[in-house]
């Protein structure tokens, strides 16, 4: 998708927007005065070096960690009161994978906030859970304990749980870290399908090549927002040099392809 094909929804509020967001751990700022917005119906990426605050931005926007200043808006409403419009996929390593729970039960958790935390799930919920499992190819594994899955399969389960949420905005924190190439390709296809259905997706991602090839929009972050806009305008040597430092990025060969050299 080239730059001028980026979906533009005139007049609509962005899927996710942060204004002047500042977050510190102790006294060290992790995010400093960040302004960024991610358009509706686009596949967006947050990129930047380690420690740039990529995950922190998502977590602060969702209210999981306190912000010192600034605000986050989901579809134009304060994020804290619009949590029902967001499906969040946290990092996999935050979870105890020996926890006694099956694949299906994890995906059912995506329905709890929709149905009401204290209510039983209905037949409709179960159908939605089945569909989510099928979409990520985990149908045959529904009854398996989550500890007996590979890393790629675990990520599929997490994404199925977000799908079951049926929210218009999806936020994913490093979904492709440490998974096999086949799963990455499958999940990337799935994210594109979801975009085609009109959902807005924001992914914290570390691979500039994929971002360049498959994403519409990007925020380049390094504590401050270095650039935010269509991928073709933002993932360019000048901004990357500012985010990653001069030696990190080399211009590619004659074809103009950007290469990522560390």
């Amino acid at each position: 998708m080239s730059v001028d094909e980026v979906p533009v929804h005139s007049g609509g509020a962005p899927a996710l927007e942060v204004r002047r967001l500042t977050v510190s751990y102790e006294t060290r700022p992790v995010l400093w005065d960040v302004d960024a917005s991610f358009p509706t119906g686009a596949l967006s990426a947050i990129v930047g070096p380690n420690g740039a605050g990529k995950s922190t931005l998502l977590r602060a926007a969702l209210g999981l960690i306190p912000a010192d200043a600034g605000q986050a808006l989901v579809q134009g409403r304060p994020a804290r009161s619009a949590l029902d419009r967001v499906a969040f996929v946290p990092q996999r390593d935050a979870v105890d994978w020996d926890f006694p729970i099956t694949v299906r039960e994890v995906v059912e958790m995506g329905r709890y906030p929709v149905r009401g935390w204290l209510r039983r799930l209905t037949g409709e919920d179960r159908a939605i859970v089945d569909e989510a499992l099928e979409r990520v190819g985990m149908g045959p594994f529904a009854r398996r304990q989550i500890g007996r899955l590979s890393g790629g399969q675990r990520q599929r389960v997490f994404i199925a749980r977000a799908l079951a949420r049926q929210a218009p905005v999806m936020l994913l924190d490093e979904p492709f870290a440490g998974i096999d190439a086949r799963t990455e390709a499958t999940l990337l296809d799935l994210l594109r399908e979801l975009r085609a259905e009109g959902r807005s997706i924001v992914v914290v991602h570390h691979d500039l090549g994929t971002v360049r090839a498959s994403f519409d929009w990007a925020l380049v972050l390094n504590v401050r927002a270095v650039a935010c806009g269509p991928v073709g305008e933002v993932i360019v040597p000048q901004t990357l040099r500012r985010a990653y430092g001069t030696d990190a990025v080399n211009d590619g060969a004659q074809d103009g392809e950007l290469r990522w050299v560390r």
Binding site: A94, Y112, T183
Partner: protein, 414 residues
């Protein structure tokens, strides 16, 4: 409680003890599971130790000797201990385990000082507080058991009502919070429930060993099932069984109740850890040994095929030299092959029988398929998240995909 006590096939006193131990084991098992899954087991230990000064303070303040008054003090100190542990952790100046260690030992030291002080008062009837150290089932009266049961049922009802929010928070707190769940409040609820379990159990099991009743049932139950609801129910049942068995043994033998209960619990955990199907240590060790043996036998088959390919049938000695395998391993593998009829012998020399040749063929085919997967697997476009099992690729991929994989590999060779 009356009808229940009458229904048991024991004397009145023993029935009261058994019922009390059952209530304690059930609640501690279920509520302890929540702490174990949060990896907060040692907080439970700290809170249990914190109840000791609580009992002493309640005695000094009121002069009462009845369990209910003393347990109010125990509960209050348990909560104070919980607040201090969390506060010290949040200060960010110590690691959680250090915070827990500091609080656990300090509260316990205070408890011992107060116990000694009370002993020095030389009042009549102060004796008995020591039972809160190691536990004593013998002194339980029907009224205590009624109160324990009421508290326990209340706590279990809270777990049942909040089952889905608790499960979500325990498994993935970030996701639960992003779904709008007040996880801080739920953590407070879980800690309060832990205090309830400790208050119910501390008189019978004692402050020092109470942690075992929180952990033992959960650890055993987790070996037996992979679902949270199953773990909770099983932990309750195991806790009750362990509690009753231990309390009755202790009442009969005159040994202190806490240690006896804990030792019974240890036997149960040990049995589960060793024997649990699919998960137990022995079970796994047996499977691992079998897999290794199978790999060895397959390797020797291939060695033999290679040797036969290059010359006359080898002797066992020649085969050992050619394959570089330890003689003992080789002898074992040949023994296995002999038993399955894969070998034929011509004096000292070994060659393959017809069935042996077929096994070699099957092993080679499996290896071919595996290397085909490594090279061409990405072109298969599997319809779901199934992943190959190197031991049996055909079964894990399905016949259709295995055949396609072979076709892809053949195509690439051509």
């Amino acid at each position: 409680m009356g009808p229940l006590i009458d229904a048991l096939p024991f004397s009145y006193t023993v029935s009261v003890i058994a019922l009390g131990a059952a209530v304690l084991g059930l609640t501690a098992g279920v509520l302890g599971t929540l702490a174990v899954l949060r990896q907060r087991t040692l907080v439970g230990d700290a809170l249990a130790h914190a109840t000791l000064p609580g009992v002493c303070v309640a005695f000094i303040a009121t002069g009462a000797k009845d369990a209910s008054t003393l347990l109010v003090g125990a509960g209050a100190f348990g909560l104070i201990g919980a607040l201090l542990v969390v506060g010290l952790e949040r200060s960010g100046r110590t690691r959680p385990d250090a915070a827990i260690g500091v609080m656990l030992s300090s509260f316990f030291a205070l408890g011992i000082v107060l116990l000694t002080y009370i002993g020095s008062l030389n009042q009549s009837g102060q004796a008995g507080l020591e039972s809160y150290l190691f536990g004593q089932a013998a002194g339980l009266v029907e009224r205590d058991v009624t109160i324990m049961a009421a508290l326990g049922l209340g706590a279990l009802a809270v777990v049942a009502a909040l089952f889905r929010p608790l499960k979500s928070t325990l498994f993935d707190a970030d996701h639960a919070a992003a779904g709008g769940l007040p996880i801080r409040a739920l953590e407070v609820v879980m800690t309060a429930l832990l205090v309830v379990a400790i208050v119910i159990g501390v008189r019978t099991v004692g402050a020092i060993l109470m942690v075992a009743m929180l952990v033992v049932p959960a650890a055993a139950a987790r070996q037996l099932t992979g679902r949270l609801a199953g773990v909770l129910v099983l932990a309750g049942l195991i806790g009750a069984t362990v509690g009753v068995t231990g309390a009755l043994l202790s009442a009969q033998s005159g040994l202190p109740t806490g240690p006896v209960i804990v030792l019974v619990g240890f036997l149960v955990v040990l049995a589960c850890l060793l024997l649990a199907p699919g998960r137990g240590i022995l079970w796994r060790a047996r499977k691992l040994a079998r897999d290794r043996r199978r790999l060895l036998v397959e390797g020797v088959l291939i060695d033999l095929e290679t040797a036969l390919h290059g010359g006359p049938p080898p002797t066992q000695h020649e085969l050992a030299l050619a394959s570089g395998r330890p003689r003992r391993a080789l002898r074992r593998a040949l023994g296995d092959l002999e038993r399955t009829g894969a070998l034929a012998r011509d004096g000292e020399r070994i060659y393959l029988s017809e069935s042996g040749a077929a096994s070699v063929h099957a092993v080679l085919e499996r290896r071919d398929l595996w290397s085909a997967w490594l090279e061409h697997g990405w072109r298969l476009e599997l319809p779901d998240a199934r992943e190959p099992d190197p031991r049996d690729l055909r079964a894990s991929l399905g016949d259709e995909h295995a055949d396609r994989l072979r076709a892809l590999a053949a195509e690439a060779r051509a």
